[in-house]
Structures are given as C-alpha cells and as structure tokens.
Amino acid sequence: MSALPPSHPKILRSNPQNRTSNSISVTNRDRLISLASPIVLLLLWEILVRVGVLDARFFPAPSTIFETLMVLIRDGSLWANTWASLQRLFWGFLLGGVPALLLGIAMGLNRPLRALVDPLVATTYPIPKSAIFPLILLIFGLGEASKIVMVAIGVFYPVLINSATGVLEINKIYLDVGRNFSASRWQVFRTIAFPGAVPHIMSGVKLGIGMGLILISIAEMFGAKSGLGFMIWNAWEILSVETMYVGLIVIALLGFLFSMILNEIEREIVPWKKSH
C-alpha cells in the first residue's frame, strides 16, 4: 500500500470499505507512523527509566542524554571531536575511493587486468578490516595517518568491486558505438565506462561510507586524542555513559546525513535514470 503514489488518494476514497476511516491518505498515515515510532520508543524509554524498570547506569534516560548533549555542545568538545572524525573520513575517502574508482573501471574494461587483480581482491577482501588495524598502527604510527589509512581500506573495496561490476554490466552495444565512432581509450573511459557505471559506483560509495564510519570509530578508540571514537572510548574509561550515547547518536546522525546527501547527489548526476 505504501507504494501508492500520493497523487492518487481518490482511488482509495472511492473504495467503500475505507470511506469511514479515510480522512487522511494511506501514505500520510504511513508517514505519521514512521514519525511516531521513534518518539514513542523514546517516551517509553524515559518512563521505564523513571519508574526504575531500566537501569539508568546502562540506559540513561533520553532527557539526561540530551542534557549531556547540550553540555558537550556548549563546551565545544562535541564539535571538535566530530570535526576530527569528519576530516579523517574525508581524507580516507579520497585516498581509498579515487584509486578504487579508477582501478575498478579499468578492470571492467580490461580482461587481463581483471585476471590480475581479481584473485588479490578475492583473497584480501574477506579479512576483517579491524583485524588489520594493529598492522596499520605498526606501519603508520599513532598519528593521523593510521586512521586515514583505515578509512581508505574500508572505502577501497566496495568502490572497487562496484565500479568493476558497473562497467561489466554496461550494454555491449555502447562500446560498439564507441568503437564505431573511433573513440580513443580515454574517451571510452570518460564517455561510456564511467557514466555507464555511475549507478553502481554510487552504491559502492554508499557502502564505502558506511564502512568508513565503522572503521573510523574503531581506529579512534586506540591511540587517538580526538574524534567520535575517542570520545566514546574515553567516556567508557571515565564511566560517563551519557557521553557514550551522545557519541553513538552523532555517528548515527552522520550516517543518516551522508546517505541523504549521496541520494541527492545521485539524483543530480544520474538524471537519465528513470525516476524511482
């Protein structure tokens, strides 16, 4: 029912069974439910803590978490930590994403290169990225570099795999057109392979950002002096559970924000995809 476009509420109204209850359309009702569910959960949480059913040491009431949030905003530490994580994410994303994109597209276009890289990807991809962290710390030290490299590794794989798949799934007729109109290698890359693979690349980027968020949180828990991961770890050490929750909330919000921005970018750069 949620698939019904909002412009067609009349069809539903003409259904006699729905006539009594249907002063709002089905989509609006669903929207209302989606909006209400987190609010109801928070209310329930608050009540359960206040009546003592939930242990406030592990599940502090939403109102106290909110108070801590305001304190952390006011003293500037929340912003400083968020900014530190964002910077690492950004550089890690560039460092991992750009080579992955170029290599992935080249793999899609070039069979021998695919034969060369595929087994390397297949054997290294399943290694949990967090398990590589000690090695990364050893190589790149405790500074910024190790955190950025962690994000880069996380971003690299999904972008690489999706770019290669994206090119491979391009209809062969487009490559025929390129050849017939004597497009050079670089022109094929620029005018066919890349734009044709963009929808897949975007899925890779979304997965990559998610992976980046996971890895930056882990990486900042060790040897970092700033960042959301540091903030959460530090909160554990000083037993400030509220701060921990604030950290989690901000990370969740960042993930949500990134996916919204990427959806918007996708709509902007893939105008030829039929609206979904």
Binding site: I173, V177, N180, F181, A183, S184, T191, V270, W272
Partner: protein, 270 residues
C-alpha cells in the same frame, strides 16, 4: 538507377566468417564477393541468421573476417570511414539528444562551433530541435532512431552502415522514417549499406539489392532497382512496377526463408 562507370567504393573479396560454437564451427558468411559503387544506396536482404549483420559488423570494424579482404577507397582525408546506425537501444542514456548526435564529432575533437552547426542542422532535419536537451528515455522508439540517424549523418562519414534501423518500429513510424532518411540522404548521397529483412524496405530505399541465402550466407542474387530519385515513398508504392519487383524478390527470398526455418527447427530438435 546507377551509371555503370561509377568507381567502386567498397570491394569485398571472398569474405568468409566462421564462429567456433559448442557444437563445432558455424559459417556465417561464405565467400561473399561484392562491389558497391560510390554513392549507391545498397540494400542487403536475407532471412534472419543469414550473416547480414555479421557482414555489416565486419565493415564497421567491430568484427574481423576469418578470410577474404575488404577494400574501401577513401575520399577526403580526415573524414571518418564509416558510421553505423544500430538496430536500436544504442543511444547513450546518460547523454542528451544533442550530445548523442554530437558524439562522433566530439570524439574527433571538432571545434564547438562546428559541432553546434552540424548537429543543429541534422536535429532540425530529423525534427528533433525541440528535444535537443531531452534524454533518450524520454523519447519514443521512433524518435530515438532519428537521433541515431542524426548521429551517423552528423559524423559525415564516407560510408553509412545501417543495421535494420527501423525493424523495431511500427508500420506508420517506419514509413515516416524511411521518407526522412531518403530526404536527408538526398543532401549528400553518401554510399549506404543498409541491411533489412523487409523486401518492401529494400525496394523503397535501395538502388541495388543483394539477396542473401540462408546460413551459410552467400550472395544469391543482385537486383537493380529501376526507380529514379528523389523518391516519394507512398507514390512509389502505388506503382505497378513496385509491386512486381517486390513480388519477384520475394520469390527469390522465400526459398531461403524456408531453408532458414528448417535449419531452426532442426537445431531445436537436436
């Protein structure tokens, strides 16, 4: 009608193409020799699977022959050898109508002003000026093939290759596009190699028609089309001579279509 002293634009000698398949080798083209005069609108008709598309793909440089030779006499330097109008679905979905039509010229890095002028001309000739900034998915199948035609003509090649460009269109659209194609072609009278399975289309458009045999594809017969130019499609079709020619070509083709059908049925059984 063609004068006999026109020099050959394309010369094919003993062109053979065979593919290795699971069950052995399949010969798609068998010893096809052919001369196409400069400026000729050359049609190839044949049953489906007779290798006519293979022939076109070899000429387009998208496939290589197993043996035999192709000679194409080049004209002006810097002009591309050939441009192909594909069956359909060959427009880049990520480019606007204008950018699709401009593809050949941009790949050859022509100046922007020239691209705007040439592409503008052919979009105008195909009635697409209003849709220059639309994307292919917003157009009907007929309009998409117009863009494809504009793309090939705008590239200004020596030879135009057309691979059943109208086969996916309905009857009305097909007729309109055939008329449009003839009008645009009259401006330059380039050498055209046009593949179709429609005898009507072959007689309507062509100067000369090659009938191909069922697999393996060979030349069965070459027929000259005696109608002058410019042609009006509907008027042409109302002439008795038109019907007679279609009928006689059909007579030649029918045996081949039946053979192709028998081949299909055998391959289904085995």
């Amino acid at each position: 009608m063609l004068a006999e002293d026109v020099p050959a634009k394309i010369r094919l000698r003993n062109l053979t193409k065979s593919f290795a398949t699971g069950g052995g080798t399949v010969t798609a083209l068998d010893n096809v020799s052919l001369e196409i005069p400069s400026g000729c609108f050359f049609m190839i008709v044949g049953p489906s699977g007779c290798g006519k598309t293979t022939l076109l793909r070899i000429l387009a440089g998208l496939d290589t022959p197993t043996s035999g030779s192709i000679e194409v006499s080049a004209s002006a330097a810097g002009r591309p050898g050939n441009s192909m109008v594909f069956q359909g679905g060959s427009l880049f979905p990520w480019m606007t109508v204008f950018d699709n039509a401009a593809y050949g010229l941009s790949m050859r890095k022509r100046p922007q002003a020239e691209i705007a002028e040439v592409v503008g001309h052919y979009l105008n000739r195909t009635g697409l000026t209003k849709f220059a900034h639309a994307y292919p998915h917003q157009l009907s199948g007929g309009m998409q093939q117009r863009v494809s035609i504009a793309r090939a003509f705008a590239n200004d090649p020596d030879i135009l290759l057309m691979d059943e460009p109208f086969s996916a269109l309905d009857e009305q659209n097909k007729l309109l596009l055939q008329e449009e194609l003839l009008r645009i072609w009259e401006e330059t009278r380039k050498t055209v190699l046009f593949i179709t399975h429609s005898v009507d289309e072959a007689v309507t458009l062509g100067d000369r028609i090659m009938i191909m045999t069922a697999q393996p594809g060979r030349t069965k017969q070459i027929v000259d089309v005696p109608f002058g130019r410019p042609r009006e499609v509907l008027e042409l079709r109302s002439q008795p001579a038109y019907g007679e020619l279609v009928y006689s070509i059909w007579g030649q083709l029918r045996d081949e279509v039946q053979r192709a059908r028998a081949q299909d049925e055998r391959s289904v059984k085995s």
